[in-house]
């Protein structure tokens, strides 16, 4: 029993790292993603091309590689070193912002031109059209794809171990090398519970947004 509590506490300590990466990434990647999505829809071609190229590069390469790059390259080339957590945060935020931006862009571009025009002919201002008519429809469209990303995010946080962030999988490995196998499965339970709560939350939101069709 002592061993169980010991393992639980150690894993929990690791899991706080996962949760920190998860929360900070969400808080920063969503606004950054919105900014990027506007950039990728810009009528100013250089900006649009630039943003789309970045998004393509980030989505086209492994997050694992991005973690290595952010952590090792600055210290090797410019002699600047980030602490592990900062490096992990930079990689995660940029990576997830790129994915979020594509979801936002899809959501925005899916709204028919007629919705904007209907607002225009009724004398509404651009900002009123966006906040009163478009935004809600975009949110409804993106809840499902965004929730998929968010569920993937908590699982991805364990990748931070490759730059030695002491997250949950990293610490459970300590038990495995001692010959203790079950803590490895136990980590799975943490993720399952966490995602179970998220899934409930998202299905509640979807249900709330289902008050109208279309």
């Amino acid at each position: 029993m002592d061993q169980f509590w010991n393992v639980t506490l150690t894993l929990l300590e690791g899991f706080t790292q996962n949760c920190t990466i998860f929360l900070l990434t969400l808080v920063m990647a969503i606004p950054l993603g919105i900014l990027l999505s506007f950039g990728s829809m810009s009528k100013f071609f250089p900006l649009k091309g630039f943003v789309r190229a970045i998004v393509w590069a980030i989505r086209g390469t492994p997050l694992l590689l991005q973690l290595f790059v952010v952590f090792y390259i600055p210290s090797l080339v410019w002699d600047i070193s980030f602490n592990r957590m900062t490096a992990a945060m930079i990689a995660f935020v940029i990576n997830y912002a790129a994915y979020f931006s594509e979801i936002f862009r899809g959501g925005m571009e899916g709204i028919s031109k007629g919705q904007y025009e209907a607002g225009q002919v009724l004398g509404m201002k651009k900002s009123q059209i966006f906040f009163r008519i478009i935004l809600m429809q975009v949110i409804k469209r993106i809840v499902t794809p965004i929730s998929n990303e968010i569920i993937t995010l908590i699982k991805d946080t364990s990748l931070a171990r490759v730059i030695m962030v002491p997250e949950m999988l990293k610490v459970s490995e300590r038990f495995t090398v001692q010959g203790l196998i079950w803590p490895l499965f136990y980590t799975g339970v943490f993720f399952l519970l966490f995602n179970g709560v998220l899934t409930l939350l998202f299905s509640f939101m979807e249900k709330k947004l289902n008050y109208y069709k279309g």
């Binding site: 007629g114 002919v121 009724l122 279309g214």
Partner: protein
């Protein structure tokens, strides 16, 4: 009431409106007919400031609302000031799906009232938002009654039939009290059995002396309701006159050809 002079509009190399001039008296109903691609929808969109003509002038009640010579009439703020002379009912309704029927109608008037109260301290006899809101709601309810949908006030557009949605769209456009109400093929997206109810509402508006421009493929309806008909072809007004002149005794060969195709299918 409305005077349109020498409107020209092209998209890139594609010239859609070559030289359109016409005028409209208060309370008159004008119907624009013509084949697809003749430019009738683009003309309506120009009047509603959804497109900017390269050339031409539009005035309403003597006030110039657009003049291609005058750069300032292309400015966003100027356009917003002038566009409410016109209302537009779209082919595919474009109701706001997240709002109930009544909220679709009161959204724009409410925003407008807020702005006017802030700027001028009054709005159509109301000097506070609560009073303005009550007036707007009353107007909206009257309009819903007019289009026969009072009982659908709290329904969402997604649960309505196409015909009902279009009737809500008409009420929504009327709520802004436009001088001229434009219809862009209001029944084209509807199942045939639903067109009647929408045409009935438009007919009802004619009796209230609403000035209207109706772009339509319903030749029979145009003959019934319109005081004047314009037949457009290839960006030009090919023929203009009373329904008797244009539909029953067309002068132009193009008009005859167009109408023959409709008569073949029995309207």
């Amino acid at each position: 009431m409305l005077k349109v002079e020498h409107i020209r509009k092209s998209f890139g190399k594609n010239v859609v409106l070559r030289d359109i001039s016409f005028s409209l008296k208060k309370g008159e109903v004008l119907s624009i007919i013509g084949s697809s691609g003749s430019g009738k929808t683009t003309l309506l969109r120009c009047l509603n400031f959804l497109e900017t003509p390269q050339h031409g002038k539009v005035s309403v009640g003597g006030e110039t609302v657009f003049d291609s010579e005058d750069e300032s009439s292309r400015k966003e703020s100027e356009i917003r000031k002038h566009r409410l002379h016109f209302g537009l009912v779209f082919q595919n309704f474009n109701l706001f799906p997240q709002y109930t029927v009544i909220d679709n109608i009161i959204l724009a008037p409410t925003l407008m009232a807020k702005e006017q109260l802030r700027q001028h301290g009054f709005c159509k006899g109301a000097d506070n938002m609560k009073q303005a809101q009550r007036m707007i709601r009353e107007t909206a309810e009257t309009l819903l009654q007019k289009v026969g949908l009072s009982e659908k006030s709290d329904a969402y557009p997604g649960s309505l039939s196409g015909g009902q949605q279009q009737r809500v769209a008409i009420a929504r456009a009327l709520a802004m009290e436009p001088d001229i109400l434009c219809f862009d093929e209001p029944t084209s997206a509807l199942d045939p059995e639903l067109t009647g109810e929408v045409l009935q509402v438009i007919r009802g508006l004619k009796n209230t002396e609403t000035t209207m421009i109706v772009v339509t493929h319903e030749i029979g309806f145009a003959r019934d309701v319109a005081d004047r008909i314009i037949f457009m072809d290839d960006g030009l007004i090919e023929e203009e006159g009373t329904p008797q002149q244009v539909i029953d005794n067309p002068h132009s060969a193009r008009t005859r050809e167009f109408l023959a195709r409709f008569k073949q299918f029995g309207d």
